[in-house]
Structures are given as C-alpha cells and as structure tokens.
Symmetry: C2
Subunit: 169 residues, 2 copies
C-alpha cells in the first residue's frame, strides 16, 4: 500500500511546507507516503478559470497515470480521492475507519492518490477519473492550507487505526 | 468593535506561529484584532483531564473578565464564542454573514472573544459563560492547528464581507 498526496502548484508559504514536513515524517512510520507537486502553470493571466482547471487536470491525470500522455501502468489500480467541498464528510474516527476499509479491501499493492486541486478546483476529466471525493469541512479552506490540514488528518487517522494516544475523543 | 482570539497554552510549533502572523497582520486592516495566549499550566502530569480543563477554564474566564478573580468591566458586554466540535457549522459565506450580523447588532463598542481550548476541551464553567459555539469541521483538528485554521477563516470572512477577491465560490 502506497499513499501519494498530489498537490496542484507549489506551496507558496513556508509555514505550510514546514508544517507538512512534520506530518510527512510522522506518516512514514506507518505507510509508504509521498507528496508530489504538479508544476504551477505559466502565463495564467491569459487563461480563463476553466482553461486553468483543464490544463491542471491534464497534469493531474498524467501523474496518476491515466491521462492521454500518461503511462497506463497504474491505470485501474490506483484509487483516486479528490479533496473536494462537495465530497463525503466524516468525523476523524469515521475517516480512519473509512481509510482502514480501503486498506483491507485493496490489498497491499494498491496505490491511493489524494488530490488537492488548484485555486479554482478540478476539471470535469479529473472528476470523471476520481473514485471518490471527501470534504474536510463545509468551510472553504485555502488550497494551500488544505494540504496541511489534510496531512495532519491523515496522520491522525493512522494513530486512530493503531490505537495510539494522539487523538482525544 | 474588537476581536480577541484567546488560545489556551502557547503555540508549540513555529509553523503555526508563522502562519498565524500572516493572517494577524492581514486582519488588522479590517478590525482591531489581537491574539491572547492563556499561559500553559505547570505540573499537568499530576492532574486529571477534568482538573486541567477546570484550571484552564478559570484562566479563560479571568481573561474574558467574568471569572471569580477577573474585573467585571467587560462582563455582559463581551460576546464569547467557543471553537467547539459540537458547535454550529457554516460554509465560509454563511460564516461571514453570521459574523456581519453580530457586528451590525452589536454596535462598535462590542468585544468578541473567540476561544480555542486546550487538548481536552472546555470546562463546564466556560460552556456556561459562552454565548455561542461554532465548529470548523466534523473532523477533530489539533488544538494547535485550530488556531491557524480559524484565523484564516476569520480573514476570509472579512474579505467576503468586503466583496474582495480572496474567496472563490
């Protein structure tokens, strides 16, 4: 089992990178985990929001390995989860149980991608490829802060699965 | 109108302080805003969770000005909002409207306290004093990260109220 957090665009704030690093290191005690950044688009000022989502979407799908230009090696195998305001919501324990089910049903060769979109969200092609959508909150968090909030929540899920004392109910 | 974010215990992570500083500075363009830290308790290892909440609660109430030892100068005037998992939840626009209503109804002399509890939450006395409870998510965030998430959400609310382009729907 491998988990990849796919982030659209670089991290603009050093506090976000510093925070993520803490949880990245902690997560690696539990699972093969990496963060992959989709390169930021160039010359976005000449593009509409739809065009930005479209172009970012192609890069996301390429990384997942199911895009037009992507190798098909991981196609069908990877489980793709979008971080999306319209997604399913959980409390932290429910989320840990959901993730645990995915591990139990998926077998150890499975790869899970969690995808954080850019400022305008995901293209229709990305929605079409996704296996599920999860929401961290009804509130809109900045797409930068979502990375940090999610990675802490992923770490929290592992501590809950392992019965470790990080999470207070 | 004055807003105080009251945090229980110091901030343990420098990435949280750095992030908060960014939004603190931005918020001061809109409102008289300050962050106040309740000093961390000493010798907590000899205390039960209930005792920790109790002692932290006294310090919170003192700061708000309605505790046994606190001056009554602000009593009854300050609006006290707890950041609590069992609180009301909003989307970001709903939250901005809620806050705006509070400003409109409150008059400019009103002080609002947003209170982030410690690792174990709030004492009954703090719940009793609170005017309302709001929840950022069904998920449990670390009490450290709640500070950062909330301050960004407070900043976001002001940009929504002012019709500024920070928030994408």
């Amino acid at each position: 089992m491998k988990i990849t957090l796919l982030c659209t665009g670089k991290t603009d704030f050093s506090y976000i990178s510093s925070g993520m690093q803490i949880y990245e290191e902690r997560l690696r005690h539990y699972v093969k985990f990496s963060v992959v950044y989709i390169p930021a688009l160039k010359n976005v000022s000449s593009l509409t929001e739809e065009q930005i989502k479209e172009k970012e979407g192609l890069l996301i799908l390429k990384e997942i390995g199911t895009g037009k230009n992507g190798a098909a090696k991981r196609a069908g195998n990877a489980w793709v989860v979008l971080l999306d305001e319209r997604g399913m919501s959980f409390d932290s324990v429910g989320w840990a149980r959901h993730l645990e089910q995915k591990f139990l049903s998926g077998g150890t060769d499975k790869e899970i991608f969690f995808v954080v979109g850019g400022a305008y969200g995901f293209s229709e092609d990305v929605y079409a490829r996704a296996n599920e959508k999860i929401s961290l909150s009804q509130m809109t968090f900045s797409h930068q802060m979502v990375r940090l909030i999610f990675i802490e929540q992923l770490y929290r899920a592992f501590t809950i699965m392992k019965g470790e004392p990080y999470h207070h109910q």
